[in-house]
Amino acid sequence: MATPLENAAKIPLDPVEQRKVRIARNERIGRWVLPIIVVVLTIVGWDLFCVINEVPHYVIPRPGRILQVLIEDWSLLISSLGATLVITFSALTLAIVGGVGLAILFAQSKWVEMSFFPYAIILQVTPIIVIAPLIFIYVDSKFIGLLICAWIVAFFPILSNTTLGLKSADHNLADMMKLYGASRWQTLRFLRLPSALPYFLGGLKIAGGLSLIGAIVAEFVAGSGGAGSGLAFRILEASYRLNIPRMFAAILLISFTGILIFMAMSFLSWLFLHKWHESAIKREM
C-alpha cells in the first residue's frame, strides 16, 4: 500500500516548488519581523527628531516620556478606558441585537425592508458628530446619550451585511426546505441564519472598530467631566492643560484597544468559519 507514497516522497522538489517553499518561509517570518522593524525605526526616528531639533516636550514629547506618563497616569487612564469600553461594548451588543433583529425582519418582508431601509441609510450617512449634540439635548442621561451615538455608528454595517447574508441562501436549498415542509422558523434557523453568518461576521469586524470610534466621538461632544469620564474627555482635559504627553498616552491606549477589538472579532470569525467557509481555508496550490 505505502510503496507508491514512499516513492513519491523520494522525488526531489523542482526549482519552482523549492522557490515556493522559500517564499512561503520568508513570508511567514516577514509577516512578524517587518512590522516590528518599521515600528522600532519609527520610534527611534521620532526620538532622534525630538533630540536633534530640541523640540520641547509640550509640543512633541519623546516616546520615552509618553511611556513614562502612561505608567504614571495608569490608574487614571485605565479607569477612563474602562468607562469608554463599557459604552463601546454595550453599543456593540445593542448594534448586534438591533442589526440582526432588523435584518431578520427585513428578510421576512420585502415591504418592511423597502419602507425602513432608507432610514438606516440616513442614520449611516449623517455624521454622528452633528447628531450627537441634539441627542445630548434630548436625552438627560449622559450614559444613554453616549450609548445611542455609538450604537448609531455601529449598527449599520451589521444590518447591511446581515440583510445581504440572509438573502444569499442557496435557492435550491430553499426549495428543498419547502419540499420537506419546513416552517418559516425552520428555514430561518437551518438555512438563512447559517448562510448569513460569514456576512454577519464581516459586518461585526467593521462594527467593533466603529463602536469604539462612536463612543469616543460622543464623549468628545458630551465633554462633561467628573468621575467615570471616558478617554476622550481625558484627551480634551489634557489639551486644555497642554499636557501633550498625556494626550499621546491616551491616543496610544485608544489605538491599542481598537487593534485588540479587531483581533478579537477576527478570532471570533475564524472560530465560526474555519471549518467550512472559503474565506478561512488555506489552499495548497
Partner: protein, 262 residues
C-alpha cells in the same frame, strides 16, 4: 405485471409571467416502481415538469393526480418525495451527518432517534466513514452521494433527480449510475430522472420520455426493453441498449429539426 399508477399528469401546461410557455399539454402516467427518464435539450421544460411534480411550482393548466397517495392531516396528498438537484446543494456549515439528518430534523426527529436511519443511508451510498466530515473535504462525486443519501433517508416513494450527475466526470458518473440502479432495485422506488444524455437515459431507465423545446412538450415515449440488473459494459453493448439509444436520438433530432435553432 400489474402496476399501479403513482402519478398522473393530464394536459399539464405552464406559462411564466415573462410569456415563456415552459410546458404545453404534457400528459404522463408514471407507474409505481418504474424508472422514467425525461430526456431533452435545455429549455424543453423537463426541469419545470420536475418542479411541478415536486410541488415547487404550480401548473397553469391541466391536472396532476396521485391515485395511490395517502392524505395528510391538512387533506393534501402525502407524496413522500425526495429531490436531488444538479448541484449537491449541501449545507456547507454542517457535517455530512447533519446534512443527511436535515429532512428528518425538519419533521422533528432528534439526532439520537435519527442516528440509525442516517447511518444506514450513508452506508448505502458508501460514505459511512465520512459522517463527521464537512462538504468541502469531499470530492464532487462524494458530495453528490451525500445528496443522494439525504434524499433516501426519508424512504421516499418517489425520487426526483434533476440532471444529478451532469457536472461530474465520466468515470464518477458511470459509477454513480450503477449505484443508483442498485439502490433503486433494492429500495422499491419510483424514479423520475431528468437528463440531456441519450446514453444515460438508455442505460438507466425502463422508459424514456423525449421532450422538445419551444414550447416544452413530450414528443416520444420509448420503452427500454431490457431486464434489470443491467450489468455495466455488457448491457452497454447489447441490442436493447443501442435500439433505445437510436430511437431516442432520432426522436430528439426530429423534434429539433421541426423546432427552431438551438
Amino acid at each position: 405485471m400489474t402496476t399501479k399508477t403513482l402519478l398522473s399528469l393530464k394536459q399539464v401546461g405552464k406559462a411564466f409571467s415573462n410569456g415563456t410557455v415552459a410546458l404545453q399539454d404534457m400528459s404522463l402516467d408514471v407507474q409505481e416502481g418504474s424508472f422514467v427518464s425525461l430526456l431533452g435539450p435545455s429549455g424543453c421544460g423537463k426541469s419545470t415538469a420536475l418542479k411541478i411534480i415536486a410541488g415547487l411550482g404550480n401548473l397553469t393548466t391541466g391536472t396532476m393526480t396521485w391515485p395511490t397517495a395517502t392524505v395528510d392531516q391538512l387533506g393534501r396528498p402525502d407524496h413522500e418525495i425526495s429531490f436531488v438537484f444538479q448541484e449537491p446543494t449541501l449545507m456547507l456549515w454542517a457535517t455530512v451527518f447533519d446534512n443527511v439528518w436535515l429532512p428528518l430534523r425538519l419533521k422533528g426527529t432528534t439526532k439520537k432517534a435519527a442516528r440509525a436511519a442516517v447511518e444506514e443511508a450513508l452506508e448505502m451510498v458508501g460514505l459511512k466513514d465520512f459522517a463527521a466530515s464537512y462538504p468541502r473535504e469531499l470530492s464532487g462525486g462524494m458530495k453528490m452521494r451525500v445528496s443522494v443519501a439525504r434524499a433516501l433517508v426519508t424512504r421516499p416513494k418517489l425520487l426526483l433527480m434533476d440532471e444529478p450527475f451532469a457536472a461530474l466526470d465520466e468515470i464518477t458518473r458511470s459509477k454513480l449510475n450503477d449505484d443508483l440502479l442498485h439502490l433503486w432495485q433494492k429500495m422499491d422506488w419510483t424514479v423520475i430522472f431528468v437528463t440531456h444524455s441519450v446514453f444515460e437515459s438508455a442505460y438507466l431507465s425502463d422508459r424514456i420520455v423525449v421532450m422538445a423545446a419551444r414550447p416544452g412538450r413530450v414528443v416520444a415515449d420509448i420503452a427500454v426493453d431490457a431486464p434489470y440488473p443491467r450489468g455495466g459494459a455488457e448491457f452497454r453493448s447489447s441490442q436493447a441498449y443501442s435500439d433505445a439509444s437510436n430511437t431516442a436520438s432520432k426522436a430528439l433530432h426530429a423534434a429539433m429539426q421541426s423546432g427552431d435553432h438551438l
